[in-house]
Amino acid sequence: MADLSLAAVKSAVLIFLLLTTFAYMTLLERKLLGKFQVRYGPNRVGPLGLLQPLADGVKLLFKESFRPAQVDVIVYLVAPTITMVTSLVVYAVIPFGPEVSFFGRRVTLYLADVNVGILLILAASSIGVYGIILGGWSSNNKYSLLGSLRSSAQLISYELALSLAVIAVVLTAGTLSLVEIVEAQQRLWFVALQPVGFLIFLVAAIAETNRAPFDLPEAEQELVAGYQTEYGGFKFAMFYFGEYIGIVTMSALATTLFWGGWNGPLLPPVVWFALKSFVFIFFLIWLRATMPRVRHDQLMAFGWKFLVPVGLLNIVVTSIWVILRQT
């Protein structure tokens, strides 16, 4: 029973942290984009604009909850829920740090160390596609439908490349558990052993999170706002929550799989983990301010004709290396 209550407390803390992260991710992105484009960004609500997310949240909550005519009501409401829930589920297995002593108790800084951890994350991200597909379909709007078709095609294609990069890491570490993958990197981070895998992972992660230069689902000139066109108020916020937490997830995953997770000198493990993840988040925002959007056919061709073959080749090379290392 003590275990159960501990897990409940951890979950509550995690959800609170993630909600705060989401709120301040939106502010960080707007601030940084402002800096990159030599303007101020939001600076009116509270000191330095720090209360802006709060104001946005209150606004979204109190907005009229409209619904277009003739939508499939259940599916229309389920879609943003799927996006939000699947983006949260992955944090059950992401390790933030090793065991720590807390009020005289040993507490692990992860919810669960399941032996198929990394697969669970891939499963959650493949379920997340439903939010986009169903949201676009149920809205009864051709822009939504086109947007959702596009983005689900993009997600499915790049999920493959992402999985191939992850498989190479799993081969190197010899385990599917994220905690053990981090522990295997104590001496040497996997980015040194898997540079190609890391690059594939990075590109695929950008595409998976619908970030520029792969933000086609939201190509405003062509698709209004893609699958989210007909969503407003809190339902829109749920989609956005999924997107921003997805960025944090991918940053945390890149840290865990390739950059040694919580490993690092001097500073406490959790700080290392947060720092490394933040570098990736910053990089993704920087990328958005820098890169123009690619065309849909370019995106598909790049995914299938370049990333997937290179990923397969990487796996072959890694497997041979693993076997040679054992003998």
Binding site: Y130, W137, S152
Partner: protein, 169 residues
Amino acid sequence: MSALIEIIIFSAAAAGALAGGVGVVASAQPVRSALSLLLVLGSLAVMYLLLAAPFVATLQVIIYAGAIVVLFLFVIMLLHARSGEERPSKLRGQRVAAFVLSAAFYAAILAVLRTVRSAPVSTIGSEFGSAQFVGGALFTTYVLPFELASMVLIVGIIAAVVIGRPFVR
């Protein structure tokens, strides 16, 4: 205590699977049918977890829920994009065939249950259902069916490429 929890989870998953199964055949819209199928597959994943096979459960979610039903939805959306309603099917006798096949399947399950009830219950190691165990079994005991399945899939992929290729004279 844990046995009780197990029964509760099993009942919920079984009810979900049954409700989903009814939904698949009873829904008027193909999209609803596909979503019901998703419910069935998700409930099955819960049952695999109950059977202490987390690897199989996750694969169930990744492959069936994450790939196959997504593909179904894709096809439905592309074919009946606006309404999501289906036209009357050209294939006749589907209902009769469905009933006959279901009855046959049910009879097969009953037959299996009858033989199992008399046989002694065998125990399995804790390794059963883990990634190592499934992988080992797949590449030793079941390597022939595994390779055959991949052949079938390759044939399917090649056929899809040939059919989808633009017509060239």
